[in-house]
């Protein structure tokens, strides 16, 4: 996983609430056995006509937003399925940061595992950033994870909160499994205790 430190990039406005995972990446594109290549189908139904032509009115089909690395959206972003294909599609397109008033829980978890920073900000602040994101070539935000600030095009700073453990993992590009395996001895002793206390709990053998 790539570390996330600071990012200065074009922010695209997506003023929609409840952007669900089927919108981010429809199920028909989940038949891949890889993590990459999904960017072409990010927001497929919003982005393309049925015949495959781009819809010119969709923001990511417009300059400079084709190069956007930050997305501004409204409430409950990423609701629905647990598919990690949603953050994979965002990442493959180039999105490294999504800013919204709140996120669905599983999607929120999944973004961190892929080096994407989800930032929760109150709706009023999202409205301001949404206005910034409509500035075309000036829709440029800087996200500084260490300082926990978003710097607006006018230089104003917006502070955001983030879980310290997740911040640490993102800043250093650390993989969760490696972290957890530092506790392997504790997992061993937990399992030994469970085998005694819940001896009735069978394993699955086919």
């Amino acid at each position: 996983m790539d570390a996330f430190t600071t990012l200065t990039a074009i922010a695209a406005p997506l003023p929609m609430a409840n952007v669900d995972t089927d919108k981010i990446i429809p199920a028909r594109f989940l038949k891949t056995i890889k993590r990459t290549g999904l960017g072409a189908n990010l927001f497929d139904t919003l982005r393309y006509e049925a015949d495959g032509r781009e819809r010119p009115d969709f923001v990511l089909n417009q300059e400079p937003y084709r190069r956007a690395q930050i997305l501004i959206a409204y409430e409950n972003f990423g609701c629905g399925s647990s598919r990690e294909h949603a953050p994979w599609a965002l990442l493959d397109f180039g999105i490294r940061c999504v800013i919204a008033p709140d996120f669905a829980d599983i999607f929120h978890n999944n973004t961190f595992k892929n080096g994407i920073l989800p930032i929760r900000l109150p709706r009023e602040l999202c409205d301001l950033l949404m206005q910034d994101a409509r500035l075309g070539d000036n829709a440029r935000l800087t996200v500084d994870l260490a300082a926990q600030v978003v710097v607006r095009p006018n230089g104003a700073k917006v502070h955001f909160e983030i879980d310290p453990f997740r911040k640490h993992l993102l800043l250093n590009g650390l993989d969760d499994i490696g972290q957890t395996l530092q506790h392997a001895a504790k997992i061993d002793s937990y399992e030994a205790r469970q085998r005694q206390e819940k001896s009735w709990q069978p394993g699955i053998a086919i």
Binding site: I33, K34, S82, R83, I106, N110, G203
Partner: protein
């Protein structure tokens, strides 16, 4: 371990699975059962291989194929290349890593959330995860069950744990007698209509109250299945005699003295009488009517007696735009009666309503009736064993005679990953769980409802108040 404060069912299951609590409150949480399927696992196994890791506890893991397999005859293999590759990848992965697996031609194969409880793999008090959001289904047994992404699938395969922070507790209490024509599906749709699709974000919902207690296990699974549609991390219901009777005798459940020991433990799980919840929502079952969704979010739901809302009545601009898009996508006219909506397809199945109890309800309603002209109606059993049971009861005959397709088990048209899809503009009465744009096929229009309501729509050809047929 003495406890200072009264605890909820969720607190108890959580506490007993904490391997270690890190200084910032993140917990290394032990996972008892990991269910795996073909769509969200290939990249996880690939990650293990790259890192040279093994599956820590294959005997706590069960793999099935369900999401992308065809529901027509499968004895000749899978024609669609990408689906076949995904299934073959799962088969080589379970062989390489020693994971128990029900292949497509095994009668025990089916939708992962039907199979787990059916086999006794999912038990009260367990932590259960799967790379699928509807894992909340297993909470009906009194387990803490939730969906995870593929990175977390890899994490569980490698460590049998997850890094998690505890959720908040929400109680949704439903009391009173459910009116005729209503079922568990109507209860959960009414709950989502009340609290919204983000209403449960950050919470685990415990469903309680006398109406929930009176549900059979199939109904409880339907309710917990859709907890995720309310945004909840998980949904659960306290285990009781109904739960224990359901589990007794299932293949992978404990048997004999072990079962008795298990039940003794399971009886300690229900929330303490004075447990405190962060949020409580109450519903009166007597006020619930047969429900149907009209829009492209599960919260866009109304009683079947309702009419299509007018977006112009919505004061908030973003919300008004969302409603407008829903009305247009769904091909509706504000003020139109929901019962006027003509359906092209009726889909009975999914992890929400693909159990034998659901199929019985449909068969009973359509017996002696015919699917309306022009309607394609299909029943997709949730597992091979559900299919066998239905056939033993003669339900397949009743359904076929009425004009329904009787298909093989799988997720099917719930998410349109296999050939069972809507075509653009088609309107579907569906017993599944999500009505997002394009969910059942690009341009498809989904109305979520109960099995009884689906049967009613099949025979009349339009959305119908099932109470007029019984």
């Amino acid at each position: 371990m003495p406890q200072d404060k009264p605890r909820t069912l969720f607190d108890k299951v959580w506490d007993s699975h904490v391997v270690e609590r890190l200084p910032d409150g993140t917990c290394v949480l032990y996972i008892d059962r990991h269910l795996v399927h073909e769509v969200t696992s290939p990249q996880a196994f690939d990650g293990l291989r790259t890192a040279g890791r093994r599956v820590r506890r294959p005997e706590a893991t069960l793999a099935v194929v369900d999401h992308n397999i065809p529901t027509s005859d499968r004895s000749q293999g899978i024609a669609e290349e990408e689906s076949r590759i995904q299934v073959e990848t799962l088969e080589s992965n379970v062989a390489a890593f020693g994971v128990p697996y029900f292949p497509v031609l095994d009668p025990r194969q089916g939708i992962v959330h039907i199979v787990g409880p059916e086999q006794g793999v999912s038990l009260p008090g367990m932590t259960i995860v799967c790379g699928d959001s509807h894992t909340s289904t297993h909470g009906a047994l009194g387990a803490l069950a939730f969906g995870i992404g593929t990175s977390e699938v890899e994490h569980v395969l490698a460590t049998q744990t997850l890094l998690q922070k505890p959720a908040k507790n929400m109680l949704v209490r439903v009391d009173g007698t459910l009116p005729p024509g209503c079922s568990a599906k109507d209860i959960v749709l009414a709950i989502i209509g009340r609290i919204g699709t983000a209403g449960g974000n950050g919470h685990v919902i415990e469903f309680g109250g006398e109406t929930i207690r009176a549900l059979d296990m199939a109904g409880r699974m339907t309710v917990c299945n859709m907890a995720i549609e309310a945004g909840a991390r998980a949904g659960l219901i306290a285990p009781d005699e109904t739960t224990f009777a359901y589990i007794d005798g299932r293949p992978f459940a404990p048997h004999g003295a072990a079962f008795d020991a298990a039940v003794a433990h399971w009886r300690t799980l229900p929330s303490d009488a004075d447990a405190v919840y962060d949020r409580v929502v109450t519903l009166d079952a007597a006020e619930i009517a047969p429900m149907v969704t009209w829009g492209t979010s599960p919260e866009a739901v109304l009683p079947i007696t309702g009419t299509v809302p007018n977006p112009a009545d919505e004061p908030d601009e973003a919300r008004r735009a969302q409603l407008q898009r829903m009305v247009e996508y769904m091909g509706l006219i504000p003020g139109q009666k929901l019962t006027e909506l003509v359906v092209d397809v009726v889909f009975v199945g999914s992890c929400t309503n693909g159990r034998i109890e659901d199929i019985r309800v449909v068969a009973q309603l359509v017996q002696g009736r015919r699917v309306a002209p022009g309607v394609r109606a299909m029943v997709v059993p949730g597992s091979g064993l559900v299919k066998q049971q239905a056939e033993a009861e003669g339900l397949d005959r009743i359904l076929r005679d009425a004009g329904f397709e009787w298909r093989e088990a799988g997720c099917s048209m719930c998410l349109g990953m296999n050939p069972d899809k809507l075509t653009p503009g088609q309107r579907c009465a569906s017993t599944s769980n999500r009505n997002f744009e394009g969910r059942q096929g690009p341009g498809g229009r989904t109305h979520l409802l109960s099995p009884a309501m689906a049967a009613a729509a099949a025979v009349t050809g339009h959305l119908t108040d099932v109470r007029e047929l019984v």
